[in-house]
Symmetry: C2
Amino acid sequence: MHERRGFLKGLFGLGTAAWSLPLVGGGLATGTAAAQTPPPPPGKKLGYALVGLGSLSEHQIAPALASKTKHCKLAGLVSGNPDKAKAWAQKYGLPERSIYSYDNFDRIKDNPDIDIVYVVLPNSMHAEFTIRAAKAGKHVLCEKPMAVSVKECDQMIAACKAAKVQLAIGYRLHFEPNNLEMVRLAREKTFGRVKVIEAAAGFPIGDPRQWRLDKKLSGGGSLLDIGIYALQAARYIAGEEPINVSARWSRTDPVKFKPGVEESVLFTLEFPSGILANCASSYGCNLNRFRASAEHGWFEVQPALNYEGIKGRSRSQQGPKDWDLPVVDHFAAEMDDFAECVASGKPTRVPGEEGRRDQRIMAAIYQSAASGKTIAL
Amino acid sequence: MHERRGFLKGLFGLGTAAWSLPLVGGGLATGTAAAQTPPPPPGKKLGYALVGLGSLSEHQIAPALASKTKHCKLAGLVSGNPDKAKAWAQKYGLPERSIYSYDNFDRIKDNPDIDIVYVVLPNSMHAEFTIRAAKAGKHVLCEKPMAVSVKECDQMIAACKAAKVQLAIGYRLHFEPNNLEMVRLAREKTFGRVKVIEAAAGFPIGDPRQWRLDKKLSGGGSLLDIGIYALQAARYIAGEEPINVSARWSRTDPVKFKPGVEESVLFTLEFPSGILANCASSYGCNLNRFRASAEHGWFEVQPALNYEGIKGRSRSQQGPKDWDLPVVDHFAAEMDDFAECVASGKPTRVPGEEGRRDQRIMAAIYQSAASGKTIAL
């Protein structure tokens, strides 16, 4: 395990450098302000409170905090369902004082066991709980998408700056070795310059009553929820910010997909160096692959965004190669990294500004699909 | 070999039905007029004359006619290079009277050994030689792209109609078992409805002095030459005609790629049923895959468009499956099929009207890329 950490640190260094260099705008990362807050004692495991005890918290995040993280642990719960919260507290051995409802959540400010609030709520609730957590003096890790509008992103960033807390977005693939290898191969031009990127993310959505299909809670359709992975991949593989976007969308089932909740949306990003990226997002079918095609070969991850089982490969003039990279729990890596950032004052590689960039592009994607025009970014 | 033919006939039947059903507009196939010409004696191998003795003729078409076709053979040569033509004639045992220059080509009308002219010239010469061949009373197989403008396509179709000869376009993948399997799986909804198609075709182009990079000869860039495979695939997998297209293009090397000769162009097609297709074309990198993502699985060919070694596979809830379909020489299958069409008066599945549809869409792709607007089709 020690070796794995070492390996990850190596990749972290690369990842941070590679992704921070080309990113445009947004000023300083939120993290730089947070350096002023007193760091926790060295060696202390930081405490995370989970806001929202849905499937992601239950099956990924809580198990990671229970047995996989090195620098943090589960320290609090925030739920709208008191019975569920009680059962969780029992399971994870949490005291009653660390269980909160959405109403009394703000009292979390008086709980010294909780350093970081992880917002795992439906999209439209991200802004409110991020801002409330910041006001309570807690650092915030907020699931993707950051919010449902750029304006909300601005408010979240401002609230965290004002409170001198760090804000990170739950972009777990920034901590996944195969995705990081994609970035390395692109940045080092191992196969020459990247010319075309293809990134697709989707799944056939089930229950039509779920929050993802309710625009009030989701803020949109497949793009905000799953297509954002394709947008992220295009951006981190290109290592540049897109200069424009063109998009088309589709709803083949008007009962399941109401207006404003697109089933599929395809979008093309143009980057300053001439890289073009074809991206796809869908709630109608499985899409799960990021590929970069370069002058002398291609490299891809497929599956690209599963919680487990991500596989990368490349093909050059020397032939095909299956990668054999360490298997990492994305959520454990993401939470440990942020805990280290909070502890050391080092800025996170996935700050609110990064979430805001995606939000701005996603708004342009919707604008392009609705207008039939390429939107300059 | 007999079994293979039987298998192919089965696929041909399917392919014809599947592709002719959804295709819109264009009136009757050119082939229907040709039914009035007297068929050659049964059992006779029809004679092909090759116009243009470049790499494709040398390495694919002539060898196929020499040893792989059942219903046709090499019977004539048309070349701008007398020495080359003489060497070819010697190699393939052709009489001197069946060798033509571009100037005296029209005398081909008096040569009873030649039934079909296969135009394998640079794109901008397709229209002229198709029309001259038709006027000489010969049926015409013309390489893709059919021409460099829709107007030329109209002239070619009109010339063949007037001469009561058939016109086919060299869409060899309509005769390739893995590509036909893609069509079958889409049409039969084996994995449910197709939602998203991804089709990409490209290669890193070499010698900057070649005709493909000279707009006067090529009529455009990668799209007309290689991206047309992606456009074709999107259309035959969808089984519908697109209602609009959005495109972006790129030239990263202005020395190699002059204005009007795009290096890469990405385009999104929207189909009436809601299927969306992301397509990519490039002279900057290898792209070689067609994939359909459906409700309950996906299916793909990769490599998709090589002369040899095309491989298909699918993945459903039952797991992955590598296809094991017969290996076919695309050019032999294409030329044999057209010979049979000519002999029987049956319309070809790849008529001039099919080439014209692509030409119209390619013009819209360029228009969209230039204007930044989605173009209705």
